[in-house]
Amino acid sequence: MSVAKSIVAALCRLMREDRLSFLGLAVLTLLVLIGLLGPWLPLGDPTRIAAGPRLAPPSWAFPFGTDELGRSYLPRVVEGIRATFLLSIVAVSITAVVGSFFGMLAGYFHGVTDHFVARGADILFAFPAIIVGLLVAAMIGPGQVSAVAVISIATIPLFIRVVRSVTLSVAGRGFVTASEVAGATPWRIMTVHILPNILGAVIVQLTYAMSIGMIIESTLSYLGLGVQPPQASLGSLLRQGSAYLTFAPWLVLSAGMVLSLAIMSVNLVGDAIRDAIEPLKGRALK
């Protein structure tokens, strides 16, 4: 009855009952597979200039059309999926580790520690992600590293807040008190008693952070602060395509649609996980 196993079991049940969550999971799986296998799929070279006519509409040879340099747009979108997912996953993983650590610290130790961590999170939270993005880009230069840094900075306070509040409720439970009385170290209490019991909430929060991360990455790349050409991300493709919006709308449409699908599917799966973890309680009126 490990956390992972119970979540998977509940998810499977939910997926069977709820078509929307099922759809979300299917789309997400597809996108991740495409992103993973992208370089090995027979879609053509994303960087080959003048593979076809410039700004050609979708056709059999170029399903998503071509861009202003005559590059086939489909492999570029696939590369964009890859970049957007990869950057978000890396950033959110950092967030999860750092955010859970400080969140648990704040929730378990009251007083000064809590005060500092919680206020620190509030201050971070108060900065709009874009301002932070400009700042970071100015300091370390635009690129993947700064995109990851900005996503982490923007999502860590959310994480700290949620982890802190669930930690507070778990820390008040009898088994934690019993362990404290037995003389357990704070490290032991946090790893053995608190972490396994807040893991569900952490996973749910992870999916939300993931969708926020994808939005931030796209925004940054759209503003030219994230992924740099010739590399593509969904955001930089949107930026690139927006210049030709009036006479080559397929560029923006294809990248935009894929981005929306990605964010939507992540959210749907996140909702499904949350429902699986926190089933409705209480008496229903039948």
Binding site: M1, S2, F175, A182, A184
Partner: protein, 250 residues
Amino acid sequence: MSQTIVELQDIVVTYRAGFLGGEAFEAVRKVNLSIREGETLGLVGESGSGKTTLGRVCLGLLAPTQGVMRFGGAPFGTLRQRRGQLSVVLQHSEWALNPRLRCGASVEEPLIILGVKPDERKRRVTDIFDSVGLGDGYVDRYPGQLSGGQRQRVSIARALVTEPRFIVFDEAVSALDVSVQAQVLNLIMDLQHKYGFGALFISHDLAATRYVSHRIAVMFRGEIVEDAPSERFYGTPDHPYSQMLMSSLA
């Protein structure tokens, strides 16, 4: 004469509302209590009377604002120094055990903290499950697979596994059914006979407390208003508040 385990001298606990001073609230006022080896002291009173706060002081979880708590004749020190010497059994049976750990692992934990060797731990866990009337089969179960009474037995096993000198039972039977309550109360008394620990039995239920305790302290608004042998609570206790509690048993 058996030795005094826990001794409270002029304990005062003050809570301050707010960050900068604010109004102070005296949860416990000048309480003196002592508990001997092999003796159960019942602590009754309504919620907000300070009995849970006093329990936390006895467990070393809360440092009193004033006064001294002595354990086995010496100052308490830290919980880490006292590990294995005291333990607690709490009310809410659904949260008393970590739902992610098998019952055996929960019971084993105090031994791990104490630094007992693995094969010795295994033997003692098996023994203690036996003592609380749960067979070997329960070691590998998760708390969610047990009834309230069984979970409370596991909690008692965890509290007893290091053979501590002092155990606090905080509303330990309040959430249980009448029939199960009697089983657990009898179990506590039998185990005390066997292991000789001193106990503080905190409850708002005078009937259960009087049954399991040797002495009863009645707490009212942060003070002990009566401290008398349990037999008195089968007759007429002195303090008007005690008498009112008695009236609900008539």
